[in-house]
């Protein structure tokens, strides 16, 4: 069957009334999650996974729900960027540059509408790219043996810090910690207990959902408490929207360029959404700036937003085809797939095409829903955004605990969640990134399995790990991913910082 037919079948799944309802709920929740300062997309999806899980939704329904949340969170991030000048997550940083000045000029509604349209264009074209590229990559990945997979996982960790990463050794520490947590429990191939200390509860290992919610959500609560940030921030008032067809056409070229650049950096390992929006903004500035950028040029809003959303969809390519996520939020999506008993990777496209294509179709549908929601209903979201964190964070914490409790119905999991919260707080204080910890927990079992397979095949000869051209290539990219940021990271980060500081001066 051709790609088009499969996609049409996907649409048949995604357009059923039930799926549409889940897409709508997901889109609303996602926008809220993305918009609330301090919650962030990775957090939000993490809190919702155990809930979707314990509600007993079918895999397809929960996937549609959570992909819409994912897409929605990307839309929502821009609301706080524009109105509060505070990015919901790192990729939304570039949107502040022109978005907030526009809001200050009394064009907040236009800035929000422009960014919604640009987000839609970014996601739409990147999803088209996903449809074209994913099956090709999945076909290619079938050539991978255990040694190549082991190298691929190493590559995922090496490049996770991204080109803008600060300290590669701290990424290494984080990855090692995550992988170590993953080894707790009964070893699947030999039956030996590892690090369980005879506690029955540890035999099955530690559920990564508990770790995700603890590391992200609970540590965030500690940070809010520490910074006395309970009152929230003053936001710019919303004006009445005046957007003509001409304005939309004006931002079209910028959005299209942003979408393309974003998609490319989303697919590439280690580049991610931050770089996507950064590159889109800088290029746009170089192409069409006439001294208006940084002062509220709509194109300066459109380009990074399209780039950011393009990268978010682009990042799904390596996630779905190789099982290797490129960013924090895709790592959480991977967690979702694993907890639904779906193993992403090349086989996914052959074994459950209806599911994959249903999700891809859901991305299209979700984005359209988001565009329709975001332009007329923006006022509602803005209202909700003004709920101060001092009420919101405790409520979110409670909902997160309910989700965790409902996985196994054991209060012990709640203690673990608090424990991970403390760990997350300390790690963030000493600037050890949290995403590699999560990724380590997720990929650990697969990574170990592939290492063992490879070594059993070679009868204990470690040189099999660099035995094929393909694996040598993967190791080379991994090494580059570790070394390049040490050389260029400083320069790039300084550049990003300069363009942000330039605004406040």
């Amino acid at each position: 069957m051709g790609t088009i037919e499969l996609l049409m079948q996907g649409f048949a799944v995604a357009l059923s009334p039930e799926s549409l309802m889940f897409a709508l709920i997901g889109a609303i929740l996602g926008t809220l999650i993305g918009a609330l300062p301090g919650l962030g997309p990775a957090n939000g999806v993490a809190i919702l996974i155990p809930l979707a899980f314990s509600l007993g939704l079918t895999p397809t329904s929960s996937l549609i729900l959570l992909t819409s949340v994912y897409a929605g969170a990307m839309y929502g991030g821009r609301i706080s960027s524009i109105l509060l000048n505070i990015p919901g997550d790192e990729p939304a940083m570039m949107t502040c540059l022109d978005g907030h000045p526009m809001a200050l000029k009394g064009k907040a509604a236009e800035a929000l509408a422009t960014s919604a349209i640009a987000s839609f264009i970014g996601s739409f074209f990147a999803t088209v790219g996903l449809v074209i590229l994913a099956p090709i990559l999945a076909g290619f990945a079938l050539k991978f043996g255990p040694a190549e997979y082991f190298a691929l996982f190493a590559l995922a960790f090496a490049t996770l810090g991204g080109i803008t990463g600060k300290n590669q050794f701290k990424t290494l520490i984080a990855a090692a910690l995550g992988l170590m947590i993953a080894t707790v429990g009964i070893d699947l191939s030999s039956g030996v207990q590892r690090y369980t200390y005879d506690h029955l509860h540890l035999f099955e290992g530690i559920d990564f959902l508990i770790a995700i919610v603890g590391l992200f959500a609970i540590s965030e609560l500690f940070f809010f408490l520490e910074q006395h940030a309970g009152d929230g921030l003053k936001q710019v008032a919303l004006n009445k929207l005046k957007l003509s067809m001409k304005d939309i056409l004006f931002i079209m070229p910028a959005s299209l360029r942003g979408a393309f650049l974003g998609f490319v950096s989303g697919v590439l390992p280690g580049a991610g959404a931050s770089l996507g929006s950064f590159v889109s903004y800088t290029l746009e500035k170089r192409v069409s700036d006439k001294g208006e950028f940084g002062k509220g040029d709509p194109r300066g809003v459109a380009a990074p937003e399209a780039g950011n959303n393009g990268a978010a969809s682009g990042a799904l390519v390596p996630m779905l085809t190789l099982g290797v996520p490129g960013s924090g939020t895709t790592a959480v999506l991977l967690a979702m797939l694993i907890s639904l008993n779906i193993n992403p990777g090349p086989m996914l496209f052959q074994q459950s095409p209806d599911l994959v294509w249903g999700v891809i179709a859901a991305l299209f549908v979700g984005n359209l829903v988001l565009l329709l929601l975001n332009v007329p209903m923006i006022g509602v979201f803005v209202k909700l955004l003004s709920i101060p964190p001092k009420y919101l964070m405790p409520i979110v914490t409670l909902i997160a605990s309910v989700g965790i409790y409902s996985i196994t119905g054991s209060t012990l999991d709640l203690y673990f969640m608090v424990g991970f919260g403390i760990m997350g707080y300390v790690l963030r204080k000493i600037e050890i990134p949290l995403v590699p910890v999560i990724l380590g927990m997720l990929l650990g079992p697969e990574m170990e399995k592939n290492l063992r397979h490879a070594l059993v095949l070679s009868d204990g000869d470690w040189s099999i790990l660099i035995g094929s051209g393909l694996s040598i290539g993967l190791w080379a990219v991994a090494a580059a991913g570790l070394i390049l940021p040490m050389v260029f990271g400083k320069v790039l980060r300084a550049k990003m910082k300069r363009s942000k500081d330039g605004l406040t001066d």
């Binding site: 050794f169 170590m180 070893d187 590892r194 964070m393 405790p394 409670l398 063992r452």
Partner: protein, 144 residues
């Protein structure tokens, strides 16, 4: 001063060594020793963590700001409240356990006591009803 990274570097190094040592103590799996046993991967990890920890000790980054002692104590109290919530959940039921926990958190984040209490009561009741009645998820009901 760059003591932060040094201290945690040492702690992580200790963790790496202990973790690696324990891996060498795993019992031999049933069916005899294989070329790659359950200990191979953990030993690899302990080496990785060790390298990272030593780097942290040798080349520490600038210190991040730690909060004052009083704030650390407050955070510790918050942890205890969260744990008390977990402990009370099965005995007192969801509403009675969640109300004080949420109210306390709101209060510590700067809400007035009355508003905190209101938020606590309303959210716990709404979430309880929503989850048990609408979403049909079992939450301990306690005395209700």
């Amino acid at each position: 001063m760059r003591m932060n990274d040094r201290v945690f570097g040492v702690l992580l190094l200790i963790l790496a060594v202990t973790y690696g040592y324990e891996a060498t103590q795993f019992p031999v799996p049933f069916g005899g020793q294989e070329t790659v046993g359950p200990e191979t991967f953990p030993i690899l990890l302990s080496i990785l963590l060790g390298i990272g920890a030593i780097y942290m000790i040798i080349k520490p980054d600038e210190n991040a700001k730690w909060p004052a002692l009083s704030m650390l104590l407050e955070l510790a109290v918050v942890c205890l409240v969260l744990m008390a919530f977990a402990f009370a959940l099965e005995y007192a039921g969801f509403i009675l356990a969640a109300t004080p926990a949420v109210a306390f958190l709101c209060w510590r984040m700067g809400a007035t006591p009355l508003k905190s209490l209101l938020t606590g009561v309303i959210t716990s009741v709404v979430i309880y009803v929503l989850f048990t009645r609408v979403l049909e998820l079992a939450l301990p009901s306690g005395i209700f």
